[in-house]
Structures are given as structure tokens and as C-alpha cells.
Symmetry: C2
């Protein structure tokens, strides 16, 4: 490992009212301890398990799925490949978009897809009108038994959200959503994407990073 690797922040910032999925709890932040009065600053956070850049646990969609604290740490750290698949509003990512990257879709692979949709982070349409993975593309990733799928959209799925998540999760694919700054990443790097140790929880905000060199 190089002594001073370049580290790229793959999380969007979290702040009071920062973007969240429609119908999710949203994020609120309020002061709890104030420096002048209490001698230190502490804040109270209120947020959903899928706030901002986050990881989905299998229990998000699967009745008997495990929580984020059961995800094996070794799956959340290691070599990752960036797939640059430029997509606009509502455009599909199908099997034909994945096949040029076929050699990278191997068992346990950490695959991050950069569509460019993250440029629309914070816009009203961001969550529901982004690019999406077709059912067949999800089946291909599941068949290849990749280990982790990260995307710069709010979800890898469109109207068939449940089916796409089910396909990926049943195959053991860990899903990371709302990634930032993938445009800055090289084709290959080391991903570190550790959720909070939230017992039995269906998801967790996290601070994924790309460790380069």
C-alpha cells in the first residue's frame, strides 16, 4: 500500500434538509449542547436508514434478509472497478451496456457504475427520473455473482424497483446508492464502504471512499 494514497470522497454531504427519497423520513439536525452554555457542541440528528449516500441491507426488501451489521466486512473493502456508462434522464442500462465490461463482472467483484446522473443531485427529479437497470441487466449481474453494486443514482431500478432489488439481493449483491464523485475516480481503485454498525437495520448512511494508488 502506498504511504499516501489519494482518497476520493464518494458521499454527498448531509445537512438539515439535505435531499432524501420522497416519503422517507428526511434529515433534521438541531443543536443539543451549545458551546457558550455547555462547554461543548453536540447536535441531535434525525434521519432515515436510507438517507443520502447509503447502503441497502438485504432486509430492505427480503423478508428474511440480514441487516447491515451482518454484511461481511471483507466484502466492503477491496479492489473495485468503475464502469463509465453515460446515461440521461430515464435511460435504461441494459445488458448491451454491461457486456463491454464483461471481463470485470466476476464473482465477488465490486462494480461501481457512473452514469453522470449525480450531476442532478438535489433536483426534484433526481430520485424518480434517473437512469435505471433493466431486469435482464440485474439478472446478468446476479448470474455473475458480483459482490457489490454501487450507483450514482438514488436506486438501480425504475418502476420494477422491487424486482430488481430482489434479483440482486437474493444473489447476495450488496447495493450502494447515491454515490458522488465517481467522475473523479480512475478505472480501478480500492473501495472502502462500511455502514454504521446498526443492529438488524435495513440500511445505513455511510462514507464510502475510493483509495487510489
Amino acid at each position: 500500500m502506498a504511504e499516501k494514497p489519494r482518497i476520493i470522497d464518494l458521499a454527498h454531504p448531509l445537512y438539515h434538509g439535505s435531499p432524501s427519497w420522497p416519503g422517507d423520513p428526511g434529515i433534521g439536525i438541531a443543536p443539543h449542547c451549545i458551546l457558550d452554555r455547555d462547554g461543548c457542541r453536540v447536535h441531535r440528528l434525525s434521519l432515515g436508514t436510507h438517507q443520502g449516500t447509503h447502503i441497502d441491507a438485504p432486509s430492505h426488501f427480503l423478508p428474511d434478509g440480514e441487516g447491515v451489521d451482518a454484511l461481511p466486512l471483507g466484502r466492503l473493502f477491496g479492489p473495485a472497478s468503475l464502469l463509465r456508462i453515460a446515461r440521461q434522464r430515464g435511460q435504461a442500462i441494459g445488458v448491451e451496456e454491461l457486456l463491454p465490461h464483461e471481463a470485470k463482472l466476476c464473482e465477488g467483484a465490486r462494480i461501481l457504475i457512473h452514469t453522470g446522473w449525480d450531476a442532478h443531485w438535489g433536483e426534484d427529479r433526481f430520485c424518480l427520473e434517473g437512469p435505471w437497470l433493466t431486469r435482464d441487466a440485474a439478472l446478468l449481474l446476479a448470474e455473475r455473482r458480483i459482490g457489490l453494486l454501487g450507483v450514482d443514482m438514488a436506486t438501480p431500478a425504475a418502476d420494477d424497483a422491487e424486482a430488481v432489488h430482489h434479483i440482486l439481493m437474493k444473489s447476495g449483491v450488496i447495493i450502494v446508492e447515491n454515490l458522488a464523485n465517481l467522475a473523479l475516480c480512475p478505472d480501478n481503485f480500492t473501495l472502502a464502504a462500511f455502514p454504521l454498525r446498526l443492529r438488524d437495520m435495513d440500511g445505513s448512511p455511510l462514507r464510502p471512499v475510493a483509495i487510489c494508488g
Copy 2:
């Protein structure tokens, strides 16, 4: 970097009512979306910025201190040294305890101290009766300009908490508190300790890990 390093979880679990500092907001977790009704599970979390295993930003104690999102990522990942300094309830960690490890206390070093006090995690006395760093020990670490100090206690300080935090923070030492599982760590490993990207926040729960080999 080895293909399959061993990764040790350095976070205590977070759950509804899990241990928190007296007077802090505590942690509450409630269902928001329910699988049978909504097709997926989502929870709402309420917690303080210093809940469980967490990082202190300089703004926790310093009037003009920066937030967790301003901590340089390169400081939060890299070689770390474990100091085994067994201490009981209320025992001090003084300069004499640090000096045998003097060679490791160099500029930018990530120093984690295992006292064994984490065995008392969850007991009423855990936060306020743990081992503590003397003012002189804090001054030594600050003088050596170490980069990060992690401890298995709830705080590195006792009654002089503000002074010890000030000394460390003014010298730019990042503080990580409530570390778990340090007993399982080798003397040297790679630490990854990335807080959530909480804008201007004084602290953040996190999932630090020790990457071994």
C-alpha cells in the same frame, strides 16, 4: 495490499437505547416503512453526533474548530499503532505509560490505546469512571504532533475534560472514542475511520475498522 486482508470491527453495535453519554440525546429507532404494508423496510433514527463509537471534530470544543466533514480523508486512513496500556477504573494514563511507546509517537501517527475498559461497555460507570489521560500525557501527544488518538473509553479525559480535549484539538489531533475489539488487533495495522459527511458537525458516529495484513 493482500487480496483478502482480515478486517476487525472497531465499533460497538448501535440499537434502540444503546449506551450513550449521560445527557446526550441517546439513540431511538422506529419503523418508518414496513415490508407487508409498504413493500420494503425503512427505519427512522434519532441520535446524537457523539453516539456510540464516534469521532470528535475540533468544533466539539474549539470555538472556531472545523466540522467532521473538513477532516482530511488522508488522516483517517493509513498505518496505525496499538498501545496496550492496561488500566482499571479511574486509573490515569500518564507520561510514564506513554514513554515506553515513544518511538511510535511521531508526527501524523495514528495511535490507538487499549486499556481494557471496553469490557465495561454498557455499564452505568462506563462513561464517567474510566481510565483517563493526564494533562501532561495529552501535552506529550500534542507536542509530538500525532495525527489521531483512538481510545476504548468514552473520553480520553476525566474531570479536566475540556483542557485535555483543547490540548489535543488545538494541536490538530483527531479523537476517536468508544473503540471496540482493540484486544483482537495486532500491534500494527491499517486504520480506516471515516465519519459520515455531516456538514459542519461537531462529531459523527462511524464504523472504524482495523485492516490486517
